[in-house]
């Protein structure tokens, strides 16, 4: 299997404060990696660095994506090239219609891939097809992006966007938090539907709960900016039982 993402000795700082302190991680196509860790350990920071957010400064190390130097690419280039970030806190865009937003995004990605841009009708067809795959209705997309959505609706909307944009590397930041069990099932179903041999997923999560629905190939524990343990899905079960105490003493 080809390597999709290779992170080497990654250090990153926000506002001059070092948050990531030397991360190494290799993700191959077809794999799902879970990144777990206590609050404040740097999970979202890692997700933002991978997505290229301004203000998240890489001070050392390298990241290659599909053989390319990811850090050389701007945030929007990364997105068009197939890197998707499911936000921990999806952002509200008042007055921006969800359909318009997603069609613009989808066409930006399609153009990059050399595909024909979609007009309103073709886009609607694609949307219907993805929605039925995820067993979601497209009602949310008729409203302004994330405005007045409940926590669960915001997360479902992220997954719907992901399905339409059809990314290669999916980084999902606490997509499970704030979901009731039914919403969790819907969202997990969506994530599973988008797994594939040429795709890879990095699931950032605080709880083991999601992992009983989306089975990871590897689990990593991030603590204070470093990966302190890696293993299979049994690691997640151990965390469920014992908490982070074995990895972060003060978390006891």
């Amino acid at each position: 299997m080809t390597t999709m993402l290779e992170i080497k000795n990654l250090h990153a700082a926000v506002d001059g404060k070092e948050i990531l302190k030397g991360i190494d991680l290799t993700v191959k196509a077809g794999e799902v990696h879970a990144i777990m860790g206590p609050n404040g350990s740097g999970k979202s920071t890692l997700a933002y660095v991978l997505a290229g957010r301004a203000g998240y400064e890489v001070t050392e190390g390298s990241v290659s994506y599909d053989g390319k130097d990811l850090l050389e690419m701007s945030a929007d280039e990364r997105a068009r090239d197939g890197v998707f970030l499911g936000f921990q806190y999806p952002v509200e865009l008042p007055g921006v219609n969800g359909m318009t937003f997603l069609r613009t995004a989808a066409n930006a990605v399609r153009k990059h891939r050399g595909l024909k841009e979609l007009d309103g009708i073709d886009f609607l067809k694609l949307l219907r097809q993805k929605a039925s795959l995820l067993e979601m209705d497209d009602g949310l997309l008729k409203r302004a992006v994330n405005v007045g959505f409940s926590g669960g609706e915001k997360k479902r909307n992220e997954i719907a966007q992901m399905a339409v944009l059809d990314p290669h590397l999916m980084v999902l930041d606490e997509t499970d938090s704030g979901l009731d069990i039914d919403a969790l099932k819907v969202v997990s179903k969506g994530i599973n539907a988008l797994r594939g041999p040429d795709k890879a997923t990095v699931l950032v999560t605080h709880y083991q709960r999601l992992l009983s629905y989306v089975e990871p190939d590897f689990v990593h524990i991030l603590a204070r900016g470093k990966i302190v343990a890696s293993g299979g899905k049994e690691l997640a079960l151990e965390l469920e039982r014992d908490g982070y105490v074995n990895y972060v003493p003060e978390a006891a």
């Binding site: 957010r53 301004a54 400064e57 929007d76 999806p90 007055g95 613009t104 930006a108």
Partner: protein
């Protein structure tokens, strides 16, 4: 935070990306610079005007000599030398063009470059299935072509150049000209009354719903020319008309003056919808050149249940000074003002509306969206006046300002005067910035910086944009994006 420095860096990159800044090389008939009675007589004679109209102009000119330029607006500019302007410029032609075939091909090409569907077949091709648009194009001082005239005539709708209407319908002009904006209303309106050269005239007869959008494009082409057009729209009882106005001008280093007057009259149960997309040249990023847009627009809801709705998207001009207003005379009449004003670089805008409630149960609604970027200064100035007899008047005002960067300004100046205790007046105002979170969210979905800004700004302006006729809305959305290109880091 690092993002602030980046914003400033990117602000430096905003160039004069004005897409309409070309000059058309055409033989012009230009009056000498300066203004005196002789120039006014010349304009009037060129247009073969009746005696009463010449007298009207001369009276305006005498009054203008006694008036002062207004200084209360929050705009700053060097003194204008009114003797250093050409007051008349027209493409050379012995007689006015009788049909499109007689219009100078260079002119047609100019309009084609501007994307104006001057030729009827282009209109048809461009707006498949949607309502047609009839276009009157004003080039410097004269109206050069009117499309769809015949079709409208059959319905009794008069749509064409102002000068022509003076000849064909003098009784209407005489009855309504200056009846909404009196000769000595304000300095620029008075100047316009003295020297106006052409413009558009619309009359929709009783009970007629105008089946297509009527549209005028104004273009200033000649150097050091002022443009003083006059628009008069009358909607007779029970009629409806939607009118669109678009404007462009070439890029020039010196400032050019545009002082138009627009008068609207809605009689019983009539409705007028007036939309503007103003894209005059705004000057370069250092504030050199650009149009001074000092315009008086006012509508009178004379009849019961009448309605006038102004929608404007103001992206151009170095200075905009403009308050499209409604006089709500008829009982149950309604006035609306929907506005988007963008100021970037060194642009200044002082714009808003006046809603004068005179009749009973009159209602007005004001939605103003101001966007400031660069060193742009944006002022909303609005008056809501409820007269003693205006029983149960209602007004709702919402003023939202969006700031991009930290060198621009937004100002809201509402004036409320209520002389009837039954009035209900609501005013809401907000100021916000495009957040880093919003930008990053858009970028992460694959939108470029420009697309992201345009998307967020269009969202901010949605309530106004959705009032524009379809064909215009798309153009206006693009314009917002272009006007703000590079304004966020």
């Amino acid at each position: 935070m690092a993002a602030t420095t980046e914003t400033q860096q990117a602000l430096k990159d905003i160039g004069g990306d004005y897409k309409h800044g070309f000059v058309t090389d055409i033989e012009m008939d230009v009056a000498p610079k300066g203004l005196d009675e002789a120039v006014i007589r010349m304009i009037s004679a060129k247009k073969l005007e009746p005696e009463w109209l010449l007298d009207w102009r001369l009276e305006a000119f005498r009054k203008w000599g006694k008036e002062e330029e207004p200084e209360w607006a929050k705009v700053h500019y060097p003194a204008i030398d009114f003797q250093d302007i050409h007051y008349y410029a027209a493409p050379k032609k012995k007689d006015g063009p009788k049909s499109l075939d007689e219009v100078d091909p260079e002119l047609l090409e100019t309009y084609a470059k501007l994307g104006i569907p001057l030729r009827e077949q282009e209109v048809l091709a461009g707006v498949m299935g949607s309502p047609n648009i009839a276009v009157d194009a004003v080039f410097d001082s004269v109206s050069v072509a009117t499309t769809y005239k015949k079709k409208l005539e059959e319905m009794g709708i008069i749509f064409g150049s102002f000068s022509e209407a003076v000849k064909t319908h003098p009784e209407l002009i005489r009855k309504y000209l200056g009846s909404v904006v009196p000769v000595s209303d304000n300095f620029y309106a008075t100047l316009n009354s003295a020297v106006f050269t052409d413009g558009t005239f619309v009359y929709v007869p009783k009970g007629v719903r105008c089946p297509m959008e009527l549209s005028t494009y104004f273009r200033i082409n000649t150097k050091e020319t002022g443009q003083f057009e006059r628009t008069l729209i009358i909607a007779d009882e029970g009629s409806y008309v939607s009118y669109l106005e678009g404007c462009t001008a070439p890029m020039r280093d010196e400032n050019q003056l545009h002082a138009a007057v627009v008068e609207l009259i809605a009689l019983d149960n009539a409705e007028i919808k007036y939309s503007t997309v103003q894209n005059w040249y705004p000057g370069d990023k250092n504030g050199k050149g650009g149009i001074y847009n000092f315009v008086t627009k006012r509508g009178a809801c004379r009849g019961v249940n009448s309605k006038i709705s102004w929608t404007q998207v103001e992206t151009g001009s170095a200075i905009t000074w403009k308050y499209p207003s409604c006089i709500l005379q008829g009982d149950n009449s309604q006035g609306e003002f929907y506005s988007v004003a963008i100021t970037n670089n060194m642009q200044q805008a002082d714009t808003g509306t006046k809603m004068i409630h005179i009749g009973k149960n009159t209602r007005s609604r004001i939605i103003s969206k101001g966007i400031s970027a660069g060193r742009g200064q944006n002022t909303y100035r609005g008056l809501v006046r409820v007269m003693a007899g205006a029983e149960n008047a209602r007004n709702y005002t919402q003023c939202d300002s969006l700031l991009m960067g930290d060198k621009c300004g937004a100002h809201t100046v509402p004036y409320i005067e209520v002389k009837n205790p039954s009035a209900q007046i609501e005013h809401e105002a907000t100021t916000s910035k495009i957040s880093e979170d919003q930008l990053f969210y858009c970028l992460q979905r694959g939108l470029t910086q420009e697309e992201a800004v345009a998307m967020i700004v269009n969202g901010f302006c949605k309530e106004v944009m959705q009032n524009l006729p379809m064909e215009f809305a798309v153009e206006a959305q693009k314009l917002l994006g272009i006007s703000l290109e590079g304004s966020v880091g």
